[in-house]
């Protein structure tokens, strides 16, 4: 593998990293919820993709709506039953709640789907596009495409619609938004469902070329955390670019160093950002 290949692969997988990070960042930006169960939802999305394809031969691009709906419903349920009472401040209780939910999702998935890693053989997943000395599977390219489209759609939703403005108003100052007559709880419910729908979507495209097993969920969390901090906690487009950076750094480290430690430079990157630019690439420095 050469460097150009690493960059290409990194960018492609980085797109999917970006996709699940924007959901995570959205939940934090709007509700200050650090959802450690986010990776669990990604993992469930992967199983949705897997079973849709294996059981009924539904093409993966068709299973996307299924993943979105399943993720959205799960998100709404989680929000109403658990997260609603922890909106506004990332307290110890909230973080622990999320970790507990993540653990429970993982164990339940293990009971339902078994502990072993499973992967799909999609029709176009094993075909490769060759560009000079580089190659990329069609599945990766399609996943990247979905990620870019979804990110743009979320950006458009947040900045171009009434609902998006309401969400951003609640994110800025829930109290003030309440005075203007916005129903913060309902808007949060929508935003959290969207966050989980995006997670499941990311899972359903990730599974086209990445094997799924229950621990994958927690395994993906560091990337979401790092991408989000690099991009600027709470920023959607920041999280997407953060995801791209994570993908590239990881693949380059894997090529130039060793796959076993491909994530270690990411951890270093996080610490560097925290030390030098804690508000990230797209965040605003706070007043303090």
């Amino acid at each position: 593998m050469n460097l150009a290949q690493a960059l290409l692969s990194g960018l492609l997988i980085g797109g999917v990293y970006g996709l699940f990070s924007i959901g995570f960042s959205l939940a934090f930006g709007v509700m200050r919820i650090v959802n450690f169960a986010h990776g669990g939802v990604v993992m469930l999305g992967m199983y949705v993709g897997l079973y849709a394809f294996d059981a009924s031969g539904i093409d993966l691009l068709v299973s996307i709506p299924a993943a979105l709906i399943a993720g959205g419903l799960l998100g709404a349920t989680l929000y109403v039953t658990f997260y609603a009472r922890f909106v506004g401040k990332a307290t110890l209780q909230q973080l622990l709640l999320a970790i507990a939910l993540g653990l429970i999702i993982q164990v339940l998935a293990q009971m339902a789907f078994g502990p072993n890693a499973q992967s799909i053989r999609s029709a176009w997943g094993s075909q490769y596009l060759i560009i000079g000395t580089m190659f990329a599977s069609y599945a990766q390219i399609a996943a990247f495409g979905v990620a870019v489209v979804a990110t743009l759609a979320v950006e458009a939703l947040l900045h171009g619609t009434r609902w998006g403005h309401a969400v951003r108003a609640v994110a800025d100052d829930a109290e003030a938004a309440g005075i203007v007559g916005l129903d913060a709880q309902r808007i949060n419910l929508g935003a959290f469902s969207l966050s989980c729908a995006l997670a499941a979507l990311a899972g359903s495209v990730l599974v086209t070329y990445y094997p799924v097993s229950p621990p994958v969920g927690f395994g993906l969390m560091p990337i979401a955390l790092i991408a989000t901090v690099i991009g600027g906690l709470g920023s959607v487009k920041g999280a997407f670019f953060g995801g791209l950076i994570c993908g590239v750094v990881e693949q380059v480290a894997s090529t130039a160093w060793t796959p076993a430690l491909q994530d270690v430079p990411l951890y270093a990157l996080l610490l560097i950002f925290l030390a030098v630019r804690p508000f990230g690439l797209f965040g605003r420095p706070s007043a303090h």
Binding site: Q93, L96, L101, P222, A260, L274
Partner: protein, 323 residues
């Protein structure tokens, strides 16, 4: 007055009962070992409680300090023959250095940055421990060279000799926490926990306070790590640095009562009973992951139903009694 007095006597009676455990008729090495496990568990909870409960800084990666204590002692012993009573200092020093690095970077920031950094750092250590096989034994972990009964290596065939140091540690940490809650440093930590801006306005050096709190907690945790590895004679990356370990460290204080002296002690005792029950159940019904499910469910229950832990209602009960 009356209640505080009797409360202390109950405590002393419990300590004496545990200390004399090996002499009791029904006691055997299985029971003694279970009690030592509980004590280690409690001590970890007490150490975490210092920074998270009293200082309000949400460390989700305390496994790092625990793992550093355990690995430093074990590696020094196996590879260079350095005895644990010297290795323990190396472990505490390593934990202190990492604490200063994490705190130095994140404590100038507010909010979740510290929590996120601790998660990520513990994962980094887990990866590194799995990779550097020569040093750490990799995935399989690390077994301490066994010398049999040895003062030099602080090892023993029987669990009993570990009972008293473990008990002393728990009692020591309990006294330390009680002192901390009333001392200047502890009041500063609590002020920072309650409101950083107000603490600054009261003249508290917030950054320094958080850093010292983490330092103390990290060193306390590393010391337990050493005891752990001497007792179990083995340590592996998941056990040392993993997320599950980090959650386990938090449970005693959460169950017993965050930021109190008695909380982690009560919580740890309750936890170990739950632990034994799930172990029994998962082997009986052959459902892997039942213990994780139980921990998850317990965590969920505490967070939602009993955020104050056991000591909240308990101390309210004790306070009501005299009237």
């Amino acid at each position: 007055m009356m209640t505080r007095f009797s409360f202390n006597w109950i405590g002393i009676a419990c300590v004496l009962a545990v200390a004399s455990l090996p002499a009791w008729p029904f006691s055997d090495s299985y029971i003694v070992a279970a009690v030592i496990r509980t004590l280690i568990f409690i001590a970890l909870g007490q150490a975490w409680n210092v920074i998270a409960g009293i200082g309000g800084q949400l460390s989700l990666g305390h496994g790092v300090f625990f793992g550093l204590g355990a690995y430093a002692t074990a590696i020094l012993f196996n590879l260079w023959g350095v005895p644990p009573w010297i290795g323990v200092w190396a472990g505490m020093l390593a934990a202190a250095l990492v604490a200063v690095a994490i705190g130095g970077i994140t404590f100038r920031l507010r909010g979740v940055y510290f929590a996120l950094a601790t998660v990520v750092i513990s994962l980094a250590f887990e990866k590194l421990a799995r990779f550097f096989v020569d040093l750490t034994g990799g995935d399989a972990g690390f077994a301490l060279q066994f010398l049999g009964d040895s003062w030099w290596g602080l090892q023993s065939r029987e669990p009993t000799p570990f009972l008293w140091p473990a008990l002393a540690l728990v009692v020591g940490y309990y006294m330390l926490t009680r002192w901390l809650l009333r001392s200047r440093f502890g009041l500063e930590l609590q002020a920072v926990r309650d409101d950083e801006d107000a603490a600054t306005a009261a003249g508290v050096a917030v950054f320094r306070t958080k850093l010292m709190g983490l330092l103390l907690s990290a060193v306390m945790t590393a010391l337990v790590g050493t005891l752990h590895v001497q007792f179990y004679l083995t340590i592996d990356p998941g056990n040392a640095f993993g997320l599950f370990q980090a959650v386990q460290i938090q449970l005693p204080s959460l169950i017993g009562g965050l930021g109190t002296a008695i909380g982690p002690v009560l919580g740890g005792a309750v936890m170990i009973i739950a632990n034994e029950a799930t172990n029994w159940a998962s082997s009986r019904f052959d459902v892997p992951g039942l213990d994780v499910l139980a921990y998850g469910g317990l965590l969920l229950f505490i967070v939602i139903r009993a955020p104050e832990g056991l000591s909240g209602p308990l101390s309210a009960m004790l306070r009501r009694r005299p009237r």
